[in-house]
Each structure stands twice: as C-alpha cells, then as structure tokens.
Amino acid sequence: MHSRKYNAKSLFVGKVFFEKLSIYRTTNIFHIAHGAVYTASAYVFYSLYVSKGYSLLLSLPPSLISGAVLGVAMYFTVYRPLEKTNASAGIKFISSLAIYTFIVNMIALIYGNETKVLSEGLSDSITFWDIILTKIQVYQFISFLVLLVLSYIFVKGAKPGRAIRAIGDNSRLFKALGLNERWVKGMVFCIGSAIAGLASIITGLDMGIDPHIGMFAILNAVVAVIIGGIKRLEGVALGALLIGIIQNLVIWQFSARWESAVTFLVLVAVLLYKSGGLLVVKRRVEEL
C-alpha cells in the first residue's frame, strides 16, 4: 500500500514536467511517443546494467542520453517536417501514435514481451514511524522533489526556460523576432526525453520493465497534467500528487482492479467541469 503511493508519485517524476508543460506547450504536439522514449531508455539501461553488468552510475548516463537522442530524433525526423507543412493537431497525434507503435514493437522484437527485472532481490527498507519504504522508493521520492525544484527554477528563471514559455505563448511572434524556434524545440525534446528516461529507470528498478510500460506511464502523466492544469508548473505537480493519492485510495478502499477506471473517470469529470485544469491561469480575453 505505502509502496504504491510513492510509485505513483514517482511515476510522474519526469513525464509530468516535460510531457505537457514543455513539449505540449511549445510544440502543441500530443506527444504519445514520449511513452516510447520512456520504454526505450529503460531497455538501454537494462542492457547495460543487467546484461553487461556495469555499475549503476556507469549505466545511467548512456541510457538517459540515448533517450534524449531518440526524443530529438523523433522531433526532427517526424514532427518538424509536419510542422513545416502546417499539419493539423490530429495528424501529429496519429503520427505520434505510429512512432510509439513502431518503437515499442521494435523493442518487443529485440527483447521479447516478458517482464525484465532490473534489480535482483529485495532491497533494504527504511522505517519511519509506521511507514515502511524500500530504498528505491526513497530515491524515487527524492528525485521527484529535486526535479520539481530544478524544473521550477529552469522554467521560471533561466533564459532557455523563458524561451520555452515565450514559444508557448506566441510562437509566431517568437519567430518574427528572429529567435531560433528549432533550437528551443529540439532542446525541449532533449531534456524532456532524458527526464522521461530517468523516470522509467527509477520506476523500473522497483517494478521491472516490459515493452508496454510506456503507454501506462504516459496516460497517467497526461491525466495528471490535465487535472492539474497545463499552463502552470504548480498545477502539474498538484495533479501528479492528486492522481497518486486517488489511485491509492481506490486500491486501499476497493481494489487495484478499478484503479484505471477511476483515474479516467476523474479525468472526464475534470474535462467536463474545469477543462482548463484545477489551477487555471487567468488570461485576458484577447489572449485566448
């Protein structure tokens, strides 16, 4: 029970921040293929850490880098050409689904469909009062907090963060001012994908991996982002927390079987009554 709570939270660790907040905000692409990046990074990590037996610290960077490269490659080979032809959101969405299918099936072809274990045996546990946590879960929680703070600083403060927000607000003006849109979007995909990789590896260490983990993670992240509100980082973090708590209440009070049904009912309810998410940014009419 307790373990689930922290899993749920950590699941959204990276996805949350960049899935919508940056990738969706800057590119308007409903990036389902992010789930494929998530899966792929975990499998690269598996090859290095389990198959080759390298240490954790040695295996982590190449896995994250390959995730980032994959994400950037997706942007430049598929999305960028679509943007040039002014393709609609629907077309980008279908393309994204197709990339996801392509990569996940490639992975299944290479590694097989069965679940792989990333870390052997039971890990040490730590007890606070009556809460029992494994070490991995503590790492998950810490990385969640660190990433939350880092991305807050990044998006609010640093220059690239400002560029991301600027594109999200008005991409035409951004281009008109002679700023390099391609570079910023590429960077968003790069960072977002690396973080997705980190999230999948941290989660995978605890729960194991199979080729289909990406879809589950991405759907949860999307729900969290929409519940919280796309426009604000605080909203996204709130959404992730809320979804984690709701899912665990369902598991606790009813059964794990109804977890996804309740999650998506909540999504539908939020879409209907507060389609901007729980934390809405107030805007002037002419900005909408």
Binding site: F102, N105, L271, L272
Partner: protein, 289 residues
C-alpha cells in the same frame, strides 16, 4: 477455401467498423479512440442477450445497437465541445473505462475468463454454423452497413455534417444545431460498431476483453487514416489493405513468434509515411485540418 472465407469474414467485420468510424472522423473531424469499446459493447451485449435471456441473434443485434448508441451519447454529449486533442482524450478515457468494466465486472462478463460457447445465429430455422453460411450473413450485413452509409453520406444529414466539417461557424450561422448533429453522428458510429461486435461474438463463439483493447481502437483508427476518410472508398480500401497485409506476411515465411510485432511495425511505418506525404490517406477525401 476455409482460410479464404475466414479472411473475407474478417474483412466484412472490419469494413463495418471502419465505415462507421468514418462518420465521426471523416464527416465531423472528431478523432475517436473508443471504437473498440463500442465493438466490445456490441459483442458482449449480443452474447449476454442470447445466452442469458435467450433472445434471437437478430433481435439481440438491434438491442445491442440501441444500447451502444445510447452509451455513445455519454461520451459525445459532454465532450463534443472539447476541441481536438481533448475529444481524443475523452474517447480514450471511455475506451479504458469500458475495458476495465469488461475485465472486472466478473458477475456479468466473467472478466478475463471470457464468455465461451456463444450460440450461432439462427433465422427461420437456418443456423449459420458453417463458414460459407456465416460469410453470407456477415457479407450481407457489411453490404447493408455500406448501403446505409452511402444513403447517409448523400442525405441532407450527411450534407450538414460535411458543412460542419468544412466550416463550423457557417453551419451555426445558418441555424444548424452543430452539437446535435455531432452527437447523432457519434451515436450512429457507436451503433454500427456494435453490429460488428455482434458478428464477431457469434463468429468466434468466444469473447474476452483482450479483443477490445486500446490497441484495437488504435488499429481501427489506423485503418481509417490509411485508407482515408470522408467517402466510402477510403475506409474500404484501408480495411482491405490492413487485413490483407499481415496475411501476405504469412507467405513470406516470417516466423509466427515475431509476426505480430513485424506487422505492427509495418502498420506504423505506413502510417507515419502517409501522414507525412498523403495526410488524406490513400483514397480519402478529407484532410484532418
């Protein structure tokens, strides 16, 4: 011969699914990822009507169509005002909720065990139990759906849908209730998809939730995207291609263990290339814009 008949039956079932999805996608521009949910509702409804209530298949189909159409309103009525990506999400949510119910409401659906021994359909003493007879039935139903769709597309109703697709504001300005038309189009989609589900249930005689997953919805949407939407030709061509392609792979001697993955990879590549170079699909009339 039996192999050929089996493929023809599958083609007729998927033709019904793609033709019905064509209505919301190609005529109102609503991408739906809930098609497998309606397909599943049709299959389970007919199976349960026949086995629990002893209702004749053909009556059961009518009831399933009505049930599925009514349920579709639950998705479409509230979410139609949502734009683009959000409608997709709402339909996806419906898909996942329906799948979870099929999987977990064990008292009704037997959950993961599935429903075995679904009886064959019967009409005036004729039991459709052999492949040729069954093909006659499914073929006739697919033709029926095609005819209904053809009538529908050129009817005043279809023309209003086209008008909404091309320019929603203009349609509103001449007094058309856009929301009602979209809800109706989606209900017809749900109802027709249930026909396909009913056929599938009595053809395979065993159903379980794994036939009605999100992947299946994605597959059906890909059929419409590959073939193209907005006319009758597109979905039919898409169905033929997507059903026959994996059968072609069979003859290339790709081992069975990897065949499903190879098939998916090919589908995905075809879809990526089409979206890039021919977004209206092979024979479609409508570009998602």
């Amino acid at each position: 011969m039996n192999y050929l008949l089996h493929i023809l039956i599958m083609i007729s079932i998927y033709t019904i699914l793609s033709i019905s999805l064509n209505l919301p996608v190609g005529y109102t521009g609503l991408l739906s990822l809930a098609q497998a949910a309606f397909y599943g509702i049709g299959a389970y409804a007919v199976a349960l009507f026949m086995m629990q209530a002893g209702i004749n298949f053909f009556v059961g189909v009518v009831l399933a169509v009505v049930l599925s159409a009514v349920l579709s309103v639950f998705v479409s009525y509230p979410s139609i005002r949502l734009k683009g990506d959000y409608f997709i999400l709402a339909s996806l949510a419906f898909q996942i909720i329906v799948f979870t119910i099929l999987y977990n409401w064990i008292d009704l659906t037997r959950g993961p065990y599935g429903i075995p021994g679904i009886p064959r359909p019967e009409l005036f003493g004729i039991v459709f139990d052999s492949l040729p007879k069954f093909f006659a039935l499914s073929g006739a139903m697919a033709m029926g759906v095609l005819l209904v769709a053809k009538r529908l597309y050129s009817s005043p109703f279809g023309l209003v849908l086209k008008a909404i697709r091309e320019d929603e504001l203009s349609a509103i300005s001449i007094g058309k209730n856009v929301r009602r038309f979209k809800v109706l189009a989606f209900a017809i989609n749900g109802g027709l998809a249930a026909v396909a589900g009913a056929l599938y249930a009595v053809y395979v005689t065993y159903i379980d939730p794994t036939s009605f997953t999100l992947d299946e919805s994605i597959f059906i949407l890909s059929i419409v995207m590959v073939g193209g939407s907005g006319n009758l030709r597109g979905p039919v061509i898409g169905t033929l291609l997507m059903i026959l392609l994996p059968e072609g792979l069979r003859f290339l001697g790709i081992p069975d263990s990897v065949a499903p993955n190879v098939r998916q990879i090919i589908y995905a590549l075809v879809l990526i290339l089409l979206m890039r170079f021919r977004p209206q699909g092979l024979a479609g009339e409508y570009r998602l814009d």
